[in-house]
């Protein structure tokens, strides 16, 4: 029996996926997937960059003479995963630019909207035109896809068409979580449990004020403010890796032209396996990212000072090492739960889907499972769950190769995922299906 025909939305998403990964817009060979590779949770980091051949279009500045100067900084790209952007204009390419990491594009449904309008990119103003996610690709093509620095439409690239923008938007919005969690979860690990308490405590961790339910929206007690921009002082961190390289890295002034120093709030559920962290990839580990908020750069920033102003003791955020690790452990568990959810979704889709997509779905499920193993092991968390996840990964891999037992192996892999999840979190009415129970 052949599967039912895909609905119009699914067709639009599939078309968007094809454009995202294959369409070069007659430019220098890059696609959206060049900087947002699906096999690396849609982020670039030095580890994945090191696996790419020297002919990969990511490195176009290294082999295209027209893009040799003022298009990228190959050293900063290879060493720190940084991409060059001319966010304050193209008049002085040698001096006016910023170096930014590549944000993931997961859970955009939950993170783009704000009462002031859509927020895209690290500073919330990444898209031209109306600034919407749908328009983002137009700016990206002009900035990153051009054949020469002349950036002439129809010569150096072609601009995406309206139907292409519709499809790209549908695809990007389909990625990852479709709704926010509802914290607290009934976590089973002692340290992650404490981390959750600290995270939600508005007198201690204060994390939940700007990352409600570990997402990307703010709520200071008067109702949701949607996605918001803050100046958290990341630019004032000492010893930033890119600065240490002695390469030219101008300060990044964030939102607007000239910038006001603010940057966009990213969701945290996906954080642990999408580092390095912050707009400039300044911090490598999730523990380091949490510890940032305990440091001087944050506590002396406008946001840190505002937080201190609301504290009876005049404290912004002050956490000890054990508390930093606990919050990071909590974020690691949230990330693993999301990976498990996605892996189960993919495995179930492979059972229901057509044979053409089956292997791709199973391979993605393996990657999600490997991510959850890595995220938990990196924090020394839940070894029993890790054992089940490893088994799930093996079974999924076997399923992808098997002709006769594909479905049985896939079902066994789902059971292993569920066993792993049961070590991380208990079922609770407060815990939504997206966190504990499967598909969104």
């Amino acid at each position: 029996m052949s599967p039912p025909p895909p609905d119009p939305r699914a067709k639009l998403i599939a078309r968007g996926q094809a454009i995202f990964f294959n369409e070069t817009f007659n430019g220098n060979g890059r696609t959206c997937g060049t900087c947002h590779p699906t096999e690396n949770n849609f982020v670039l980091d030095p580890a994945i960059i090191a696996t790419l051949p020297s002919t990969d279009p990511l490195f176009v500045a290294e082999f295209n003479p027209d893009l040799k100067e003022n298009f990228e900084n190959p050293r900063l790209m290879r060493e720190f995963g940084l991409i060059l952007e001319n966010l304050d204009g193209f008049d002085d390419l040698a001096n006016t630019f910023v170096m930014r990491g590549v944000p993931h594009v997961l859970a955009l449904t939950t993170s783009v909207n704000s009462p002031q309008g859509p927020r895209t990119g690290w500073s919330g103003d990444g898209a031209p035109g109306d600034g919407a996610l749908r328009s983002f690709a137009v700016g990206a093509v002009i900035q990153h896809f051009t054949k020469t620095l002349n950036r002439i439409p129809g010569v150096d690239f072609r601009l995406p068409t309206e139907p292409e923008l519709d499809a790209l938007e549908a695809f990007m919005l389909s990625l990852g979580r479709q709704q926010d969690l509802s914290l607290p979860l009934t976590l089973k690990g002692t340290v992650p449990q404490r981390g959750q308490e600290i995270f939600l405590d508005n007198r201690l961790g204060k994390c939940n004020l700007c990352h409600v339910n570990a997402g990307a929206t703010a709520n200071f007690g008067g109702g949701s403010l949607g996605n918001a921009n803050f100046n958290t002082g990341v630019e004032n961190l000492p010893d930033q890796p890119a600065d240490l390289s002695r390469q030219r890295v101008p300060p990044d002034d964030g939102f607007g032209i000239p910038g006001n120093g603010t940057f966009n709030t990213p969701p945290l559920v996906e954080a642990a396996d999408t580092g390095p962290f912050f707009h400039n990839n300044a911090v490598e580990t999730i523990e380091g990212a949490v510890a940032f908020y305990d440091g001087e750069a944050f506590n002396n920033s406008p946001s840190g000072r505002a937080l201190a102003g609301t504290d009876p003791n005049g404290v912004g955020i002050r956490l000890d090492a054990t508390q930093v690790v606990a919050v990071a452990a909590f974020l690691r568990v949230l990330n693993a739960l999301e990976n498990i959810r996605q892996a189960i979704d993919l495995l179930e889709a492979s059972l229901a889907g057509d044979s053409g997509r089956l292997k791709a779905l199973l391979r993605r499920a393996v990657r999600e499972t490997e991510d959850s193993v890595q995220v938990l092991e990196g924090g020394g968390l839940h070894p029993e769950a890790v054992a089940h996840l490893r088994q799930a990964s093996r079974l999924t891999d076997k399923a992808a190769r098997s002709w006769l037992f594909k479905r049985k192996l896939t079902r066994d892999a789902i059971r292993e995922q569920e066993k792993a999840r049961a070590f991380l979190v208990g079922s609770s009415p407060a815990a939504p299906r997206t966190a504990t129970g499967g598909r969104s």
Binding site: N86, G117, P128, R151, V155, A218, N260, G309
Partner: protein, 147 residues
Amino acid sequence: MTLRLMTIVVGMAGVLWSTTPFAHGQKATEVFIPIGQSPGVSYKLTIVGTIERIDPQTRTIAGAAPAGPWSANVTPRTKIWLDRSKLRLTNQKGAFADLRTGLLVEVKYEDPAGRVQGKGPAEWVKVEVPGSGRAGYRETVSGRSRP
């Protein structure tokens, strides 16, 4: 609402609203987008038409579009961009002097209501630079269009 909660709301909301203007598109790449092709903006929030009158005293341009007559004030904040894409040349920043009668322009008003009213201060103006022999334009060494 407790006093403490209220303090948090007011304090943090203060820092949020004082530092974050309304979200807007990345102006930096807007310069390279030809007239009528700005995503989500062209024809929805802009007027595309031909300049029929220019008043240098009030720095106002005016003309007619399918929706009716329009005018726009070019303020010190207004960005002027020369759309040279049809000449297969890089688009550039321009000046009030580059706005000339007979040229095709796209106007985005600072206030979205400006489009409905057909008047108001312009946030940006894109002006199409025609090929040689039209409207007296020629290329200078610097590439900047001059009459």
